[in-house]
Symmetry: C2
Subunit: 386 residues, 2 copies
């Protein structure tokens, strides 16, 4: 029989800066929520997503660390890392664990603690996602690399910053209804354009912030899942693609080929097309990435992603509800954890448990987790089973 | 049909200190060797094992980085980490990838670059395997933790340092025949006892050194493997167990419960017992760990591991040939890479291609990769298929 995986429980901490909480404390809050939500009485393995704990906290070995903190030492446990896609690839590793037949119920948790450091420290940490010797050493920052993309995109497709700024505006709008979101404040396009310049053309409100958070999901084989929940959410596809580590190694910088490739493999695996997707959680670490994702994932032609926003198609009531909990921009982006937040949020939507964030009649959702400057992309397509 | 995994190619760099080589350079040498050795024309995924690159090199995202350097950007690629067991758990993740049915041929490579730093820097890096807030912050070092174990073991079982020192003597003896080994120098028990004290009772020659290295293996589903090689080596079992992150959290410190648990699960999965094992690669980062492993893996009663050494049973011609290429002590211990060296070495032995290091008539081999102070253990049992 073909094995299939399903989400049976989720947990998420609020995302905050300056909480003073440590990695374990954050992780355990999310993990316990997910375990309680699922009702499972055991886990066969633990997968931990995280990017920066070695650099920022001088702490590795989060697998055994979190297994111990959960009182579940003994279980197979390890960390999976792919920069800001660490959460997404941890879910992928967990899905493989289930499909391998070696595990039936697994916990995936991801955590990042970014606050409590200076901006240069966090900036250096984020640049670990790019090539240290050839790129990071030049002094360019991650927002700088994204600014290059934004400028090229705007020039190439004659798209204005005003148009792109609709993306963070949408995210802030959605986050108003999410009590766990880091930035619950309505903004408009002019707020974005008038916010402080960070790396031309990107301004402060084009950029996700620095925050601490953890998210967790319990995954189980579908036949096992049905024992614990009446409404498991099927993992219809879990794919990962890579691209060159560095931006300068690519023929074009206005498309993330890894997004296209991972999404196309996911659609094929799920036997679905973008037309079947009701709900998107996409990796808008910077506004331009949100717009590009709409295109790379197959929802708009190249250069026309902002039209979807202008036409209201990405709103919760639109054709393709996007970042319904606020996305990286407004829900928050604790980098290695964001990929698990996304999958958790899609699952909550498909179970119709999203409260004020609920997207009506959503049956299929897609989460896109991006590592580095589009160098790793993990795609998950989830489908409600009720 | 039950899927099964097999090793179809291996690659290993020599282990050295002060080479000035970078992570990519090391990784690619091993990966290309493994690919050439296997004859495969594609890989479906890349798994990278590494512990300290975030801390020492300010470099994460090794999955996409190494995929790019191999000219294979596009493949799913991510890093797997569990301190010094990173290599072992990366192999475990790769085996799951194959058994999941999502991949048919995968590359696992692991790398660590430890030289070029001060001893305090490397010491701090290694302590990332323990609890930063509660243990590392006290100033205790990893050799210090192992010294506690050694002292307790010697007191509890009335075993002398002379007896334990047989372990590094054996490893140095075996490394004489391994051109890739870091320490190719014969030593005797008195050399160990007279070497500089590091953390009482452990002396310099009780401890593995600081080195740079990378190892890689190509794994394939068994039915696919047969297209590429006449002598694939079956992965009969791949297990991971965890234990508490910290030593102080355990009822006893002279047994690594994670070793026992992972080994017992592996024997069960492979339908084998310790009696069936001809060949061991064990994690002797410190001499005491080599002795404890002989016991925890089922080859000697508790407290009597050194008797096996005294009786010559661990020599290449003995009943249970141990660390035939020199082990962590003498082959070298580039921490996150060691687990892949071990599996590669077992595979080479079972293919009867170990040259002067060859163990006669070996059919079944076991590799034990340990992370932290016994907090993660990965066990692989390999079986020749010829």
């Amino acid at each position: 029989m073909l094995r299939e995986a399903a989400v049976v429980g989720v947990g998420m901490t609020p995302i905050t800066a300056g909480s003073g909480r440590n990695l374990t404390d954050l992780f355990i809050e999310a993990a316990k929520q997910a375990l309680d939500d699922s009702g499972v009485d055991r886990i066969d393995a633990l997968y931990v997503g995280n990017m920066m704990s070695g650099f920022l906290q001088q702490q590795e070995h989060l697998g055994a660390m979190m297994a111990t903190a959960l009182g579940r030492e003994g279980v197979p446990a390890y960390k999976v890392e792919a920069a800001c896609a660490s959460g997404g690839v941890a879910v992928n590793a967990a899905v493989k664990g289930l499909l391998s037949g070696l595990e039936e119920i697994v916990l995936v948790g991801a955590v990042e603690k970014m606050s409590g450091f200076t901006t240069p420290e966090v900036t250096a940490g984020l640049m670990m996602a790019e090539d240290r010797l050839k790129v990071a050493s030049t002094g360019v920052t991650f927002v700088g690399l994204n600014a290059m993309i934004a400028r090229e995109y705007m020039d190439k497709y004659k798209v204005t910053h005003e148009s792109i700024a609709q993306f963070p505006v949408l995210c802030h709008q959605n986050a108003l209804d999410n009590p766990k979101a880091q930035f619950r404040k309505r903004i408009d396009v002019q707020d974005v354009l008038r916010s402080p310049l960070v790396a031309d053309p990107l301004r402060l409100l084009d950029c996700s912030g620095i925050g601490d958070g953890a998210a967790a999901i319990v995954l189980a084989l579908k036949n096992v899942a049905k024992k614990f929940t009446d409404s498991p959410v099927e993992v219809a596809a879990s794919t990962v693609s890579s691209d060159t580590l560095s931006l300068y190694q690519r023929p074009t910088i206005t498309t993330f080929e890894a997004s296209r490739a991972a999404a196309n493999r996911a659609y094929k695996a799920a036997k679905l097309t973008p037309k079947d997707v009701d709900l998107l959680e996409i990796h808008d670490a910077f506004s331009i990435l949100g717009v590009m994702a709409l295109e790379d994932l197959g929802f708009a032609d190249k250069g026309s992603g902002t039209k979807l926003l202008a036409e209201g198609e990405c709103a919760r009531e639109g054709r393709i509800a996007t970042n319904s909990f606020g996305g990286l921009k407004a829900r928050g982006h604790p980098v290695g954890a964001s990929g698990v937040y996304q999958v958790a949020e899609v699952a909550v939507q498909l179970k119709n448990e999203a409260g004020k964030c609920q997207v009506p009649n959503a049956e299929v959702g897609l989460a896109q987790s991006v590592g580095g400057i589009g160098s790793t992309v993990a795609i998950h397509i989830l489908r409600g089973m009720s």
